[in-house]
Symmetry: C2
Subunit: 389 residues, 2 copies
């Protein structure tokens, strides 16, 4: 219960959390279900708008592509960051205007670029020469922002080098883009997933500002800074409140980049605390008489929604109706016949000793990166269900 | 090309591999597709039958639940190991008789046990007291085999302690099962996924034989030994040919357990080499001018079928039309905007230096644990497509 209290304080909308709780309490679920409160999404968007000021907010659709989320955000004037043709089609079908949807994946199929261009998408990400050639061929004259690799900043989930180019390559790529007839409008970067405090942005922004200055000196006239995502959600460790966080980040941006056009791509911060998974205990056991830990098996696991427990990176918060009882350490695992479908083992979870098969477990702040990661039917289990309220 | 040649020698059915190649060559794919040759599945089943003699073969449905695979195997008289209600329904709908389908997941929802019992399923796995109570209530009198934890044996993918109970708990659980009116018929274990040589079974069988002897001494009259899976597929390192492997394992079993009834649960060995994924290169890039490795991005990744590359555990074999050209080391990654969607980085893959966006890549021996792991639509990419030939 502590986790929930903290969360309510940090995010400051007790009434909607109660709405989520009431919906879960009133429902009998026959499979694990993500219950999603659109009003919380709307409140998060509003908090980000207040904090980010005149920056353009492009919701990272991959965080939760539920059509109702996209529709609500489109109605509110939010823009979108799409990773694929599928996400672009989703946004357009839910009412987004094509000029408000950016194609943010640096790895694009040529035919998907052509589709996006025909559909009216104007802004594309890139980090490599071959990608610029594909864009020049299939989206001639398009606006391109180049993604730069930045050093790790201590985020909960620092990113690999998969995306971006080294700062030293930026000028070369800007030149290639211009020579190919594209419009190299700016730079993008990613500060690292789940960057819990705004102060952690400063070193990253310094790095990008140095590259930006070089590009301006070289005469590229950049006009757009895409600050990406990294805005955090509450997963057990304290995070800054969303509006204050966004305000602080923007102050740091303005101090370094002046009044350039800014776009941001929040995903997790927009939807994580809008959702909770209603799950069920399938089995509680001990492997031997002298086992220190119980094993608790849930009906949801790494292949049915909780993929972000990989490496025990994201620590979800669990609630049960027995939380007043004595608690003890548990290894938590999913329901599949797969030995890697274990959620928390290195750092066990504390759960009531009275927990048993059939008990409901509510998993907090699961609105982001759960339902869409779910497998189509691994081990014959259906994908995570979604109920929007 | 070397990998393919090895594979053909090891598995000895060049004609059907050529059939798979011909089907892929003749098809234009607009998304990553698993092409699956049912004749290879049939040949693998036949090889296992010859090697395992009178053991009952229960195909582990989770390895590949394509309805056509289940139907073909049911026609051939194969039995099935199901992990869930969904897999049981699939087997029954494809013609399997309920007494030929075992419910092999030790973690079962109570309502799924009741469903299975009503459907005529007779054999259930268990490894904990609470599971036995659920079985006694919802499948009274059912036959139960208890899964025992065994020590790691050097398998490519040793299993965690997620499944099974310590050997010292087996007698207690057999007693609980009997007292609850269940029929504790035997023991099961898992030697470890991808146990590449039959000789690696001996220490595991010794452990299980010791528990078995204790149970017989205690008067439990066990009659069924479930030797589980672990039968390997070719993924770059040499494996024993399937029939010889199975023959050797059965000889080891008979030497320790006499003429007890034996069941086996092969999954990977039955379907892995029956399938190849037709994929496409989306981008080839270098992060900086002095990068030692190229980055190669495919249209299939960890969240769209290649989940078993987690920790770089399973090493797939890649073929392109440029394999005669000079090769060089690559980091291989999937198409999603997810930094963990990297397939091979610690041990880079050697690919032609001439490789470029749009090139087809055929990934060998992908028939097992690919399509069903695929996400429903992470990043807006559709699930791995399946084409059965």
């Amino acid at each position: 219960m502590t986790a929930l209290a903290d969360d309510r304080v940090l995010r400051g909308h007790p009434s909607v959390t109660l709405k989520l709780d009431a919906a879960i309490a009133a429902t009998t679920f026959d499979r694990p279900t993500l219950v999603l409160d659109l009003d919380v999404v709307e409140q998060n968007f509003a908090a980000l708008q207040r904090g980010l000021g005149d920056a353009s907010i492009h919701y990272a659709v991959k965080a939760n592509p539920a059509p109702q989320v996209i529709e609500r955000l489109a109605t509110l004037g939010c823009h979108f960051d799409a990773a694929s043709r599928g996400e672009i089609e989703l946004c357009l079908s839910m009412g987004a205007r094509p000029e408000h949807v950016s194609f943010g994946n640096t790895i694009k199929r040529a035919t998907d670029i052509a589709f996006a261009y025909r559909a009216g998408i104007t802004h594309f990400a890139a980090d490599a020469e071959e990608e610029l050639h594909k864009l020049a061929e299939h989206a001639p004259g398009a606006s391109v922002y180049l993604r730069v690799i930045v050093e790790p900043n201590g985020a909960d989930w620092p990113l690999t080098r998969k995306f971006g180019c080294a700062p030293a390559r930026v000028l070369t790529l800007l030149g290639v883009a211009r020579d190919l007839g594209l419009d190299p409008v700016g730079l993008s970067f990613h500060v690292g997933s789940q960057t819990r405090h705004a102060t952690m942005w400063s070193h990253t922004l310094d790095q990008v500002a140095a590259v930006w200055a070089q590009a301006q000196d070289a005469g590229f006239g950049l006009s757009l800074l895409n600050i990406g995502g990294g805005f955090p959600a509450f997963h057990g460790d304290a995070v800054d409140p969303l509006e204050a966080y966004a305000t602080d980040v923007m102050a740091q941006v303005r101090a370094r980049f002046g009044d350039v056009a800014v776009m941001a791509e929040p995903g997790r911060a927009m939807v994580a605390d809008a959702g909770a998974i209603a799950a069920e205990v399938l089995l509680v056991s001990r492997k031997s008489d002298d086992d220190l830990h119980r094993w608790v098996y849930l009906d949801v696991g790494r292949f049915s929604g909780l993929a972000e427990t990989e490496g025990e990176a994201i620590r979800y918060q669990f609630e049960t109706a027995r939380d007043e009882d004595e608690t003890g350490p548990c290894i938590l695992a999913g329901p599949s016949c797969d030995s890697v479908d274990v959620l928390y083992e290195k750092r066990p979870v504390s759960l009531p000793v009275s927990l048993r098969a059939g008990d409901r477990v509510v998993i907090r702040n699961c609105g982001a990166y759960t339902s869409s990661y779910s497998s189509v039917g691994f081990n014959g289990f259906p994908p995570l269900d979604v109920m929007v309220i």
